[in-house]
Every structure is written in structure tokens, then in C-alpha cells.
């Protein structure tokens, strides 16, 4: 109950943030050269000023900005994200089609980065300043400095071009009609390289934080007490260090959720995945500002949901967090 009320309060506090983002981006987009109608007319192959005026009136783009903003927010409450001129479908439909690959990719990358980050972080902290630590920390630094899109390209060269173990892109084999488990395996094969690519930087971050967190907790007084009670080193780490050291890691997931979503834009472009990130890129290039705004809304929503789950998890792990704490 405490946990729910805690996370619920934080959720309620995110509503103004969401509104702020939407208003901000909406106003920002007003400064863009050319609007949806220009893009539509470009697609149609040109048109005269009268047609432009009619279209603007039809889409309500000739109203004053505050009124447009009000209309937009009102439609948003009813989950109507507008119409995409480029795709000829409602924005909500387009986004929903593209959501699954992105969510799959993010979940896989997060799990990969989190699990291995913890593992290597613990190993590095246990043998601090000896060779496992130096190796792991150096690799971590290099992974952190590697541009993800470049790593993706190089991975394609090695694994798809030369070794031919994995497909160079796409979400699934087009043309092949696979069902059930074979379908799943096919998607999994396609996601191996993208997961590694997106997860690499986060692996580096998590391993660094886990290592630092372990070292910090190992220096705390209660660990000394545990040793004074006669526990052996494994028991000390398992019962008195790990859970305490995990707390900053859990917070980090929430903080990095947005960055990961942004990273998916690049990774999906490199591997030609039909996801939300690539949709964002396409909207920018094709000037489909409605869709872009819709993606902003959905992304912010995703980040807020992830943070909500993180808050629940954190409150479960740490009994010191109270409602007014």
C-alpha cells in the first residue's frame, strides 16, 4: 500500500511534466518552415494557393496558435493523435504498428545490459585493481566511447558480410512464412546484432555504476558488522552488499529510459528495423510533423511508465522510503 501510494504520487507529479513537454514541442514546431499542408502538397505534386488555403482550413491550421494548441490537447485526451499526411493513416495507427519492434528491442537491450552489467560490475569490484578489474574497466571505457551506429555497421561487416552468421538487417525474413516457434527464432536472430549494438553503451554504464556502488557499499559500517559476526565473504556479499548496491542501479534504469529510446532511432536506422525510432527519423526527413508530435507524446509516455515501474521496484527494495521521505 505504501509502495503504491508512493509511486502513485510520483505518477501524478509527471502529468504536468507531460503537458509541459507537449506544449513546448507543439510551440517549437510552429517555428518549422513548412507545415503538414506543404508536405502534402509536395506529395501531391504541387497545387495552387487556393487549394492550400482550403486544406489549411480543413485541417484547422488557419486558426490561432492557442486555439490550435487547445484543440490538440483536447484531442490528445481522447487519444486521437491526428492524421499523418505522409502515410495516409491516423498517426495512432502508424505508431501502434511500429511500437512492437521498438519495445522488443528495448527490453532485450535493457535486460542484456542490466544482467551483464551487474555480473561484470560485481566481478570487477571483488577483484578491484587486479587484472579482472582492469580488463573489465578498460573494456567498459572502450564500449562507452564507441559510437553505437559505427559498432552496428562494423558488426554487420563481421557477422553478416564475412561470417554470414546473422542477417544484416530487417525484423524478420520477408518472403518466408514461418509460424510459431520458428517465427520467434527468426525474429530473435534478427535482433541479436541490434540488441548488442544498443545495449553496448548501457552495458558500459551499468558495469561502471555497479562496480562503484559495490565498492562504496563494501566500505560501509554494516559490512564490517557482518564480518565481525563471522560470515564468510560470499555470505557477506550475498546478504549485505548486493541488495544495497543494486539500489542506484534500479534508479539508473529510470534515468536511462529516455536515452535508450533515443538510441533506438539510430540502431533501427542502421539495421532497417520497422520501429518507432526509425519512424521518428522518417517523419523528420519527410516533414510529417503530426507524426513527430505523436511520437514525442508516446515516447514521453513510455518513459513515464518505465519510471513508474522503477519507483515501485525501488520502494519494494528499500524500506526507508516513506510517503513524505
Amino acid at each position: 500500500m505504501r509502495i503504491l501510494s508512493l509511486a502513485g504520487r510520483r505518477l501524478a507529479a509527471s502529468v504536468p511534466t507531460l503537458i509541459l513537454i507537449l506544449i513546448g514541442v507543439f510551440l517549437l514546431l510552429q517555428f518549422a518552415p513548412g507545415d503538414t499542408v506543404d508536405a502534402m502538397m509536395a506529395q501531391m505534386g504541387g497545387g495552387d494557393a487556393a487549394t492550400a488555403r482550403q486544406l489549411r482550413h480543413f485541417y484547422g491550421l488557419d486558426l490561432s496558435i492557442p486555439v490550435q494548441l487547445g484543440n490538440y490537447l483536447w484531442r490528445l485526451v481522447r487519444l486521437d493523435l491526428g492524421f499523418s499526411a505522409i502515410y495516409g493513416k491516423p498517426v495512432a495507427t502508424v505508431i501502434l504498428e511500429r511500437l512492437p519492434p521498438t519495445i522488443l528491442l528495448m527490453t532485450a537491450s535493457l535486460s542484456f545490459a542490466f544482467f551483464f552489467g551487474i555480473l561484470f560490475g560485481v566481478i570487477a569490484a571483488r577483484d578491484v585493481n587486479k587484472w579482472p578489474d582492469t580488463l573489465i574497466s578498460t573494456l567498459g571505457l572502450i564500449f562507452y566511447a564507441t559510437p553505437s551506429f559505427w559498432f552496428g555497421l562494423m558488426a554487420i561487416v563481421v557477422f553478416s558480410v564475412y561470417l554470414q552468421w546473422l542477417p544484416p538487417g530487417g525484423f524478420e525474413d520477408i518472403g518466408g512464412v514461418r509460424t510459431g516457434i520458428w517465427h520467434a527464432i527468426d525474429i530473435a536472430r534478427h535482433l541479436v546484432l541490434p540488441t548488442l549494438t544498443l545495449g553496448l553503451i548501457f552495458l558500459a554504464i551499468y558495469l561502471r555504476i555497479m562496480r562503484a556502488s559495490m565498492l562504496e557499499v563494501l566500505n560501509l559500517d554494516h559490512v564490517r558488522t557482518a564480518r565481525a559476526k563471522g560470515l564468510d565473504e560470499t555470505a557477506v556479499i550475498a546478504r549485505h552488499v548486493l541488495r544495497n548496491a543494486l539500489l542506484p542501479m534500479v534508479t539508473l534504469i529510470g534515468l536511462q529510459a529516455g536515452t535508450m529510446l533515443g538510441g533506438s532511432v539510430v540502431v533501427e536506422s542502421v539495421f532497417s528495423l520497422p520501429g518507432l525510432g526509425r519512424l521518428a527519423y522518417e517523419s523528420v526527413v519527410q516533414r510529417d510533423l503530426n507524426t513527430l508530435l505523436g511520437i514525442v507524446f508516446v515516447s514521453a509516455l513510455l518513459v513515464i511508465v518505465v519510471n513508474f515501474v522503477v519507483d515501485l521496484l525501488y520502494a519494494r527494495l528499500d524500506p526507508r522510503i516513506t510517503v513524505d521521505g
Partner: protein, 541 residues
């Protein structure tokens, strides 16, 4: 003579390169017999904690045992392997630490942590362990043992946490209990209770206790034998009564003399006019609450009325949470009081605007508690002292010159003004803080626990300095403290605070000699070694 449970022979412990001396301990020899409490006394840097950690082989990797033996149950702990030590720890020798809040794992319940002793060293079933844990918690007289077992450390008070730690340490009936300053972080009244508890448990279970402390009052209260340490060397040891009444070594004598006697000096004549008057000062905090409901209201200061005669020193005594620090900060307007009047020189400080406070601030100045946090680490000492006058319009060169004069006044080398705070010791930093407060020539000085963070011998020096300055400059002082012995030394009037309100006030010798309020009586009774001090004074020491 009963056989010794633990015997340290010629122990030397090496410190890493760059420490302030080569060895943490040099040729230390002592022994603890069964059924006795041995107190190891020393100031910070004496090596007493290092010795405790060496016995348990819990030293950090850079600090090594060089030579010597630690004989426990016929084997040398210095030569024992880590696996062998793990059998000894908790079962043969157990330890309790100074800070109960950080010494317990914040994410596990008390019952879980106490029960861990059994799960590590015995084969008892979970149900049996739970029963034993409840029994232990009842033994250490923790209120509501069942609830305490289910609680997390942050849900208990400091005293209760320390009781839980004692329960944990005594779970397996160890032969030796090492207590490393277990009461230093506790309130005076709680401290007295814990000391009594340790003594009772020791007698009942025949445990040997190695009790580390810096306070000779504690020694007088519970020690059977005493070992005095200074900078890693044992300077004196013997039965407590003997060492206390006839200390042989100069350092021991100095330590005993530094413990302020409880007898107040004869009262000085006080001026008739009051320089500072507080009437009905109150401060309430509200926190939390959702949309204005369910907020937690804490009355930090409740309707306080006091007077400070000119040239006198008023002591405000209270434990942590009594509101004394909040009151001090209200007086200097670091915090804005909600109600009441603070009259200084005809002006009501409680009602002044912030701009006026800034202008008038030269009349009331403050000395802070923490010598490390109260000086900006990036400014030179002379600049720190000169800052006040410069802000109020004095040209910089003149202010620095005045600062150097103040340095001499507080007993520091005027040339030291060019150094940074981290190059000074704790006592010297408090002198700088004092010089800074005096730079604006205030009428009233508010001293918030100015000596609490200092070693006993340094405490005495700073208090003497304060008394001299008071005489020289005719200062009126409000002196906040939790230590009644310090208050007895320097205060003409005292006010005792509890839960935000003044429960008793009056001239020092009256309040201390015949306290009327039960809380004051409890405070006075809680002073460790109170009897010893009264005898000392009676003997004319």
C-alpha cells in the same frame, strides 16, 4: 587472580606510508580476565580502535600487524587463518560499534540480523532461532521485543538500535565482548541506560568486556581495570580505583583533570540590566501531507522566554531533538521564528526584515559546532576572519590587519593567517571560528556546541580561552551544549530544554545543586562517573 581470557603481548601494528606516524600501535601489552570490565581510554589517534580491529582481524588491508601475539583460548589470533577467525568472530569474541545507525544493514529487519548469528554458527531451526531472538531482545530490555524484531533499523531510536546490537553480540554467549565507544553517539540519558545494561549483562553472563572510550567519566562508572593509551603506546594501566585516585603518568593526570568537574565555580556577580531578552519564541515545522492534509507538525521551539544579563553566560542544555540548536538559530535569525520577541538593545530581532538583520548582524555573532564544516575550505584563515568587517565597509587592508590582531588574541600565530583551514587542527579551527565571530565586536555571542567535536584536552583549552575573552571583552554569551559538565564550568545561568520547552532555569549552582524538575534530575543522574567527580571535588582535586 582469575585467568585471562584475552592476552595481548607486545603487539605492533604498522600504518601505511604517509600517515602521521609509523605505527598505529607500538609494543602494546594488556590482558582481559574473565568476568571483568577493562576500559581502554585514549583520545582520537591513540590507536584504541585499531587495537579492537586487530583483535578481530578486521584491519583494512593497508594496516598490518607487524609483531606480537594475541592469545585467545590458547591460540594466537595473529597467526590464525581467516577461516579460523570466522569461527572466533561472533562465537568466541564479538564486537559492538559506535554508530548504531550505520552498523546495521538498513535493508534487513532487526530480527533477521540478530538471527543471522544463529544461522551462521549453529544448526538451529528457523522457529528456534526466532524464539531465541525474541528472548535476547527481551533480555536487553528493548520495548516491544516482537515489534522490534519485525522492524527495520531506521524505525528504532538510537538507544534501541544499540540494544539490538548488544543482543546480537551476546547471542552466542561469547567469552569476550569488545565495545568500541558504544555510547559516544547517544544522548546522555540513553548513555547511562546502556552503560547500566552492559554492566548488568556482564555480571549475569560472566562475560569479559573490553570497553573502549575517551571519557574518564565512563571509566569511573563501570571499569574494573583501566588501560590508558596515547599515540599507540600504553602509558598506564591498573585497577580503576587506583588509577583514578592516584594517576601516575602525566598524560593520565592531564586526561582526568580535563574532565570538567560537576561542581559549578562560585557564582559571579551579575549585572542588573539584561542585554538580550527572549519572550514567547516559537518555531513550528510542518512537513509532508498531501494537499494540506495529514501533515506532520513538529513544534521545535515552544514558547521560550529567557533573559541574558549583560556580561553573563547563559547555558542552554538539552539532548538531541530538544530544540536548542533551532533556538540558537532563531536568535541569530538564520531561522525565522514564528512567534515571540527577541529584544536586543531595544530592537526586536524576531520582527526585523532580512535587510535590517543583515545590517544589524554585527551585534550578535555565532560560533559553530563543527570545526571542519564551519570554515570555507577555499579561503585563507585571515580572509575568513576579515570577511565580516569587509562586508560592513572596512577597507580590506585594515580588516586583514585587525584579523591578525584577533589571531593573537585567540592564541594563534598571526602569521598563520595565510594558511588554509585544512592545515589547522580541530582546536585551532575553533579558535579561528571564535576570531571570526569576534571580528565584528558583537554585543552577544551565541556559541552552538563549540567544544562538542573536540578532544577532551583541547576542549579544556578552548573553554579556558572563552573564559579569558569573556573577562577581557565583557562578552555576553549564550552557550548551547548537551554536556552538563561543560555547562557547569562556564555558565552563570542555565536553562534546561526538553522537546522544545524550557523545563527549568536559574543560576547554575542552584539548578545543579538542587534540581527541581524530574528531567533535570534524570540528566544530572545520567552523567557517567558522577559520583567519582563529586568525590574528586570534595577531595579538593
Amino acid at each position: 587472580m582469575s585467568d585471562s581470557v584475552l592476552s595481548i603481548e607486545d603487539l605492533s601494528v604498522r600504518l601505511p606510508v604517509g600517515a602521521d606516524r609509523a605505527r598505529a600501535l607500538a609494543n602494546v601489552s594488556l590482558s582481559v580476565s574473565a568476568n571483568e570490565i577493562l576500559c581502554v581510554v585514549g583520545e582520537s589517534g591513540s590507536g584504541k580502535s585499531v587495537m579492537a580491529n586487530a583483535i578481530m582481524r578486521l584491519l583494512p588491508p593497508e594496516v598490518r600487524i607487524e609483531t606480537g601475539h594475541i592469545m585467545f583460548e590458547r591460540s594466537d589470533l595473529c597467526a590464525a587463518s581467516l577461516a579460523e577467525m570466522r569461527h572466533v568472530r561472533g562465537k568466541g569474541i564479538s564486537m559492538i560499534f559506535q554508530e548504531p545507525m550505520t552498523a546495521l544493514n538498513p535493508l534487513r529487519t532487526i530480527g533477521d540480523q540478530v538471527g543471522e548469528m544463529f544461522s551462521v554458527h549453529t544448526d538451529l531451526s528457523k522457529a528456534d532461532i526466532q524464539k531465541k531472538v525474541k528472548g535476547l531482545l527481551a533480555d536487553v530490555r528493548i520495548p516491544d521485543p516482537d515489534g522490534a524484531a519485525r522492524a527495520y533499523p531506521h524505525e528504532l531510536s538510537g538507544g534501541q538500535r544499540q540494544r539490538a546490537m548488544i543482543a546480537m553480540a551476546l547471542a552466542l554467549d561469547p567469552k569476550l565482548l569488545i565495545a568500541d565507544e558504544p555510547t559516544t553517539a547517544l544522548d546522555v540519558t540513553t548513555q547511562a541506560q546502556i552503560l547500566k545494561l552492559i554492566r548488568d549483562l556482564q555480571r549475569r553472563r560472566n562475560t569479559a568486556v573490553l570497553f573502549i572510550t575517551h571519557d574518564f567519566g565512563v571509566v569511573a562508572e563501570i571499569a574494573d581495570r583501566v588501560v590508558v593509551m596515547q599515540r599507540g603506546v600504553v602509558v598506564e594501566q591498573g585497577p580503576a580505583a587506583a588509577v583514578l585516585s592516584h594517576p601516575q603518568h602525566a598524560y593520565t593526570r592531564q586526561l582526568i583533570a580535563a574532565v570538567p568537574p560537576l561542581q559549578a565555580p562560585p557564582p559571579r556577580p551579575l549585572a542588573s540590566e539584561n542585554i538580550l531578552t527572549l519572550s514567547g519564541v516559537s518555531k513550528t515545522y510542518r512537513s509532508g501531507g498531501f494537499l494540506g492534509r495529514g501533515a506532520r507538525v513538529t513544534a521545535a521551539v515552544k514558547d521560550v522566554s529567557l533573559v541574558l544579563p549583560k556580561g553573563a553566560t547563559l547555558g542552554i542544555i538539552g539532548e538531541s531533538g530538544s530544540g536548542k540548536s533551532t533556538l540558537a538559530r532563531c536568535i541569530v535569525r538564520l531561522i525565522d521564528p514564528d512567534q515571540g520577541a527577541i529584544m536586543l538593545d531595544g530592537k526586536n530581532w524576531a520582527a526585523m526584515s532580512h535587510r535590517d538583520v543583515r545590517r544589524e548582524t554585527r551585534h550578535i555573532q555565532m560560533v559553530f559546532q563543527d570545526p571542519f564544516a564551519s570554515l570555507n575550505p577555499r579561503r585563507k584563515a585571515a580572509e575568513l576572519v576579515a570577511q565580516g568587517p569587509i562586508v560592513h565597509g572596512m577597507p580590506r587592508a585594515e580588516a586583514i590587519a585587525e584579523a591578525r590582531k584577533l589571531f593573537a588574541l585567540v592564541g594563534l600565530d598571526p602569521a598563520a593567517g595565510d594558511r588554509f583551514p585544512h592545515e589547522f587542527s580541530g582546536g585551532q579551527r575553533q579558535r579561528i571560528g571564535l576570531a571570526r565571530a569576534l571580528a565584528l565586536k558583537p554585543d552577544v555571542l551565541v556559541a552552538d556546541e563549540p567544544v562538542s567535536a573536540l578532544d577532551v584536552s583541547v576542549q579544556a583549552q578552548v573553554l579556558r580561552l572563552l573564559a579569558e575573552l569573556r573577562a577581557q571583552l565583557g562578552l555576553s554569551i549564550v552557550f548551547i551544549t548537551h554536556d552538563l559538565r561543560v555547562a557547569a564550568q562556564i555558565c552563570d545561568l542555565v536553562a534546561v530544554m526538553k522537546d522544545g520547552a524550557i523545563v527549568e532555569h536559574g543560576p547554575t549552582h542552584e539548578v545543579f545543586g538542587s534540581p527541581r524538575h524530574p528531567y533535570t534530575q534524570a540528566l544530572l543522574a545520567s552523567i557517567p562517573g558522577g559520583d567519582f567527580m563529586r568525590h574528586r571535588v570534595a577531595a579538593g582535586a
